[in-house]
């Protein structure tokens, strides 16, 4: 449980970081919280030539609440986001999911950007970003680009990030009118990799019909996915519809199998948690509508 020798680089500026990325490319690993990378290094599952420690890039540690979006620097700690009033009111779905991310201690160190870069299929932060239709900002020595979250995650621990790029910022759409949110997950122990995690954003019209719907699933396939629920737009936002949607979605997924759960059980959790989460989101949206 000792890593192989690597070069340790701790840039103080983005310019230096980009120079290092240009130099090392795919031979580099970027470390922020190190909660996943640390274990992978120690187990020698990854053997980078250089480790680029971005913890001194203070410009990546800010949360900004704009008009339509919140932006979080890649280095924002999970605990910071969870306790940020702007996130709690503006991106409630993220605030609801963060208590499920790891443990109290790990959230103090773990970052939003790190979780997105690592792309664990069960991770909550990528799931929320995908559910909300957020954006991942990437910076390479030559250029910056924005990738919609729904195109960013390619598969197990694999993303659209190129070797010479790093994630600098995540963009989260802010809460809109008539919108409701809910999140739930199940694991053997709290803080474990979720066997299945379900997140929902719903927009419900004043007459109680569903205007928009985004149902995200984590831990089910090799990346966070958003179910195709377009057939249910215009349907009443009721418990019954919630059950119907979950039932339909459960039949369309192709779940992973591991020591904790088989495909049937994951499908079942999509059914049960999906119905619960959608119902809760409908209620949340209705409450938001009444306030408005």
């Amino acid at each position: 449980m000792k890593p192989v020798a690597f070069e340790y680089c701790r840039p103080d500026t983005m310019e230096e970081t980009m120079e290092l990325l240009a130099e090392f490319g795919s031979d580099a690993s970027i470390i922020s919280g190190g909660l996943s990378l640390g274990a992978m290094l120690n187990m020698r599952l990854v053997r980078p030539v250089a480790l680029i420690d971005i913890n001194h890039l203070s410009e990546l540690a800010d949360i900004e609440i704009g008009d339509a979006n919140a932006t979080t620097g890649a280095l924002v700690r999970q605990a910071t986001a969870m306790n940020s009033p702007g996130v709690v009111s503006g991106v409630p779905l993220l605030a609801k999911a963060l208590p499920w991310t790891g443990h109290y201690q790990t959230r103090s160190r773990g970052t939003l950007g790190g979780s997105v870069a690592h792309a664990d299929p069960s991770a909550e932060i990528p799931l929320i970003l995908v559910t909300l239709g957020g954006v991942v900002k990437l910076q390479s020595p030559g250029a910056a680009r924005d990738v919609p979250a729904r195109e960013f995650f390619h598969g197990l621990l694999t993303t659209d990030r190129r070797a010479d790029e790093m994630i600098t910022e995540l963009t989260w759409p802010l809460r809109r009118d008539n919108t409701g949110y809910a999140f739930e997950e199940l694991a053997q122990r709290h803080g474990d990799f979720a066997i299945t995690a379900v997140a929902a954003e719903v927009v419900v019209a004043n007459d109680g019909d569903i205007i928009d719907l985004s149902l995200g699933l984590g831990g089910v396939e090799d990346r966070p996915i958003v179910a195709n629920t377009s057939a249910f737009l215009g349907k009443p936002a009721t418990e019954e519809t919630a059950r119907e949607i979950a039932e339909m979605v459960a039949e369309t997924i192709d779940p992973m199998i591991d020591l904790q759960a088989n495909a049937d059980y994951r499908r079942q959790l999509v059914r049960v948690l999906g119905a619960r989460v959608l119902s809760a989101a409908f209620v949340d949206a209705t409450a938001a509508t009444e306030v408005a």
Binding site: M1, K2, P3, V4, A5, S29, A39, M40, M43, R44, L45, V46, R47, P48, A119, P121, R150, E151, G155, L156, L157, T158, L186, Q188, R189, H190, D192, F193, I195, E221, D222, I225, V226, A227, N228, S230, T252, I253, M256, I257, D258, L259, Q260, A261, N262, D264, Y265, Q268, L269, V272
Partner: protein, 994 residues
């Protein structure tokens, strides 16, 4: 309580633990903090990634050439330096702490690298090149017992390395007389109480004279010292064992580090430098130790009124690859108490120990207790159900009655004191049992799965070392000479300044021995516990120790505390004698109170103890006539009831027998399989309570470990004996949030076997919680057929009548009837089908074309056709940064031209290896469309399987999809009729709906 005030009696008080301040402020020193000698070098161990293989060669040249490497030790070096470590089982197995000719389990040491630091040592480990010839392997005891099983130890001629039967009373007649016979059989899972701190040691060899010194966090028993000197070939005084000031948890596990102590001691000798080795978590989870998994069965004969007439136990213990001492003790620890809490006297026991390609087992909290009570207390619940008697009532009817103590159990145990029925009544009252049953009725009426389960047990404490010799027949024992006893030792001394030190060799790992010892000594000397220093570090050259010394079998409050009390009494007596002479009264008139020796009833006539103590050192000539100077008393005591087994295999196996009664009420969520523990009541008889804080901590800890076995923890092996739970992501160690609140009750009957009336305790509910929870689950689900651990997926499947086999798990499931193992391939399984836009003939041609294969096999760098139906390839497989190069071989079998073929593949590389089998069937849809159906079964081993279990299924699927995607592309590029507008693959593998 501040701890500073003076009270009449410290024993029994809720005195806060003396140990905690150092632990909580980071001032406690553990083994990794110790640098006891200069020039220490660091070891890393190359371990087998194969469950079973012959070692052909080990090339260490590249590793030795690495700068900073001091040397590399292999099995050949060790075999020349030491003798095999002796075993309690007389079979021709040579147990070395490192593989010599074969590896027999994943994680078995193959080479030791010693280097300047651990980093270099681990770099060098990667450069060692062992060559293996793989052998068939199994982790399953019933498979290993089969006629044609692959043998682990050829000289034994069988994988059954121990087989004995026992008979007490007249079990045959009891079963003939029975109105109802209940049979159960099951698998008990393998798990361990993973301590926070892993094994650690520094070993140093010195010459002139030859002497090994080992600093470690070893927990004993020190009978293993004799085994170690046997292996190292030195007299006892040339192996000096020193323990660290603190140990970060053990729960029995740190008993099994003794082979590593021998291995590193020998390495120090060979390389001529002190060597430090700190086990890491990967090593710990694959290769340290665990409790046994078992394939047990039980039969119980009942009369129609619920009287338990007879019991038959059939125990099959998966002992791992070797019978490591003190095994087979785990199956004998409960043996002399085979009747549990009941007055049944007709008992038959059959014990078989089976070696498999798994890590050797050893001590773990409850040692043999959880497995034993799983048999007895599940069959009591089943009997109650079958006879329509309340499970509490059936136990009540069979309990040994309060007036029968001390009770001589049929297999030899003497139960010292107890009132089992009173304990049960207390538990029922605390649980509000009648209301609970109503709540169950109500819940069931609402369609809920609500269950109540209970379990009762005796808790043997302070082991008789001789119980292990039940592994031998009475004739063998007679030949070997008597064995008995369980010595407790302690020293209490007062230095010239009057300060008191108590010394035990109890090697605590967090249990609070220092606190309780200080309370006992304070009472004897009329002082406060904070004035008593308690030293628990052992040094075999300077401590008063014996074979039984150490920290196991709840022996502290059963035995050790008696020795401490006795030594303190001797010191007190001497102080009183001196004070009496000084104060010119009779010694009986002196009492020790508040730091003074004073005349009873005349407190102003007093001498400070400090002054008396000083006199024994400063002015020995002034002492009463014939008195030895100094105040230094050592007690070595052997509990008299611990004799050797008799010729009918009866043995008094322990000093005290506590009692635990657990009751659980649970609800299983039919939709998700979640178990909610509605209520858990645990009533304990620990004799006189020495310190309630310590006792409660132990009760909670034991409960947590029992619950872990019931719900979460399992060392899963696949069908090829590859461990699947090598990290805490897959081995789900219980943590505080998973432990619900306990309702604790005490019902205490003082033990006559102990000066303080205390009984041993600590195993507690670790022995009963698995059974109480299983009984509750069985009650909720309406079946006796439940299997631990009760994981979410398993519960959901059971609640809905669905079959479930844990992915990656190899354990064949055993039914209720005759032992019939259902065949199970285990490992990764999958199937699927794709439609390709070409004719079957074209698909077939392309499928077997080496050039195509080279192009479409994911990550294929090089592919060579060895013969018509054999290929070798070099492939790079990986996700994210986790990449490895693998050498693969693919053989085609059972080719049916244009229709089907079977593929057998094998690959190995730095991150692991795998083998698999798949079949492919082509089906003609039309001239331009062929459906390929495939299925596969693969077993993956090595690091990637041990630490990356979660990812394997997904990676396999990914590789298959990549293969067919590439194949489709290839097919299309060579097929003019390609309907490229809508490739099935593009649809199949396109991102799902956004």
């Amino acid at each position: 309580m501040s701890g500073k005030e003076t009270i009449e009696r410290w024993v029994g008080a809720r005195y806060p633990r003396k140990e905690d301040a150092a632990l909580l402020t980071g001032n406690a020193r553990f083994i990794d903090d110790m640098e006891p000698v200069a020039g220490i070098r660091h070891a890393a161990i190359l371990r087998s990634e194969h469950p079973h293989a012959r070692i052909i060669s080990i090339d260490t040249s590249k590793a030795e050439a690495l700068p900073g490497v001091r040397g590399i030790i292999t099995g050949a070096d060790i075999a020349q330096t030491i003798a095999p470590i002796p075993s309690a089982v007389r079979v021709p197995i040579k147990f070395y702490p490192i593989a010599i000719d074969k590896v027999r389990y994943v994680g078995e040491p193959v080479a030791v690298v010693v280097a300047e630091n651990r980093y270099i040592a681990e770099d060098a480990v990667e450069l060692i090149e062992p060559v293996y010839e793989e052998l068939p392997a199994t982790a399953d005891p019933e498979t290993a017992m089969a006629e044609n099983a692959s043998l682990l130890h050829d000289d034994v001629g069988s994988n059954i390395v121990h087989h004995r039967t026992f008979r007490y009373g007249d079990p045959e007649t009891a079963f003939e007389r029975a109105d109802k016979i209940v049979r159960l059989s099951w698998r008990y899972p393998r798990y361990a109480s993973t301590p926070m701190e892993t094994y650690g040691l520094v070993a140093n060899f010195e010459s002139q004279p030859d002497r090994y010194t080992i600093w470690s966090n070893f927990q004993g028993p020190f009978i293993l010292h004799a085994l170690m000197t046997g292996a190292l070939g030195v007299p006892g005084n040339r192996l000096r064992l020193i323990t660290s000031p603190h140990s970060g948890g053990s729960f029995g596990i740190k008993q099994a580090m003794f082979p590593y102590m021998v291995l590193l001691a020998a390495s120090s000798r060979i390389l001529g430098c002190p060597v430090k080795w700190i086990e890491d978590r990967l090593e710990h989870l694959t290769a340290s130790s665990s409790a046994a998994d078992r394939a047990d069965g039980v039969e119980a004969a009942f009369a129609s009124d619920g009287e338990l007439l007879g019991l038959k136990f059939d125990n099959i213990v998966n002992v791992g690859a070797f019978v490591r001492a003190p095994e087979p003790a785990s199956v004998y620890r409960m043996h002399s108490a085979s009747n549990g809490c009941y007055s049944v006297r007709n008992i038959a026991v059959e014990n078989r120990l089976v070696v498999t390609n798994t890590t050797p087992i050893g001590l773990n909290r409850g040692y043999g207790g959880p497995q034993f009570y799983y048999a007895l207390e599940r069959v009591m619940d089943a009997g109650a159900k079958e006879l329509s008697i309340d499970p509490a009532e059936i136990r009540r009817r069979n309990f040994i009655r309060a007036e029968e103590f001390p009770y001589k159990a049929p297999a030899g145990a003497t139960y010292d004191a107890g009132d089992y029925e009173a304990g049960l009544e207390q538990a029922l009252e605390l649980a509000e049992y009648e209301d609970l049953k109503l709540a169950r009725e109500q819940a069931r009426a609402n369609g809920k799965l609500f269950g109540i389960g209970m379990a009762a047990g005796v808790e043997p404490s302070g082991s008789n070392m001789a119980y292990v010799t039940l592994a031998q027949t009475p004739e063998e024992r007679a030949k070997a000479g008597g064995r008995s006893g369980g010595l407790g030792t302690a020293t209490v001394s007062v230095d010239p300044s009057g300060s008191v030190t108590a010394k035990t060799v109890s090697t605590p790992a967090g249990q609070g021995h220092q606190t309780v010892a200080a309370q006992v000594v304070a009472d004897a000397l009329g002082m406060r516990p904070d004035q008593i220093d308690v030293i628990t570090e052992v040094d075999t050259l300077t401590s008063a120790w014996s074979l039984a010394s150490g920290n196991y079998a709840n022996r502290f409050s059963a035995v050790v505390i008696g020795a401490i009390a006795d030594a303190a009494e001797k010191v007190a007596k001497k102080i009183k004698l001196i004070a009496a002479e000084n104060l010119e009264v009779a010694p009986e008139d002196i009492e020790l109170v508040g730091g003074n020796a004073q005349v009873v009833g005349v407190p102003e006539k007093a001498l400070p103890v400090r002054r008396v103590a000083a006199q024994t050192h400063w002015h020995p000539a002034g002492l009463p006539k014939a008195m030895e100077p100094g105040l230094f008393e050592t007690t070595i005591m052997n509990p008299e009831m611990l004799d050797a087994p008799d010729d009918q295999d009866r043995v008094g196996s322990a000093v005290t027998f506590g009692y635990v009664f657990d009751l659980a009420a649970i609800e299983i969520d039919r939709e998700t399989g979640e178990i909610e523990i509605k209520k858990y009541v645990s009533v304990h008889d620990v004799g006189n309570v020495l310190n309630e804080i310590v006792v409660e901590g132990q009760i909670y800890g034991g409960f947590a470990h029992g619950l872990a076995g019931a719900l979460l923890e399992e060392f899963v092996y696949d069908a090829g004996a590859n461990p699947q739970a090598g990290t805490f992501a897959d081995y789900l160690c219980i943590t505080a949030p998973e432990v619900p609140e306990l309702t604790i009750g005490h019902f205490n009957t003082p033990s006559p076997h102990n000066a303080l009336g205390a009984k041993g305790m600590g195993d507690g509910s670790s022995m009963l919680a698995p059974t109480a929870i299983a009984n509750a689950a069985a009650d909720a689900l309406g079946t006796f057929d439940v299997e631990l651990p009760l994981t979410l997926n398993k519960n959901w499947a059971a609640a809905n009548g669905l079959p479930y086999q844990r992915a990656g798990a190899a354990k064949a499931k055993v039914g209720d009837g005759p032992r019939e193992a259902l065949a199970s391939k285990g490992g990764l399984n999958g199937e699927g089908s794709v439609e390709l836009s070409a004719s079957p003939a074209d698909v077939w041609k392309l499928l077997l074309d080496p050039e195509t294969l080279a192009a479409v096999v994911p990550g294929c760098d090089k592919l060579t056709q060895v013969s018509e139906d054999s290929f070798t390839a070099e492939v790079t497989i990986g996700v994210a940064g986790i990449k490895g190069v693998y050498n693969a071989r693919i053989d085609l079998r059972d080719k049916v031209e244009g229709e089907s073929v079977r593929l057998i593949g094998k690959a190995s590389g730095a991150l692991g290896f795998g083998q698999g089998e798949g079949s492919v069937v082509l089906e003609r849809i039309d001239d331009n469309c062929t459906r390929i159906s495939y299925n596969y079964n693969a077993n993956v081993g090595g690091k990637v399987a041990t630490v990356g279990q979660r990812m394997l299924g997904t990676v396999t699927k990914l590789l298959i999809s990549q293969f067919f995607r590439g194949f489709d592309r290839r097919l299309k590029s060579g097929n003019a009729n390609d309907k490229s507008s809508g490739s099935i693959f593009r649809r199949l593998f396109a991102r799902r709906a956004r």
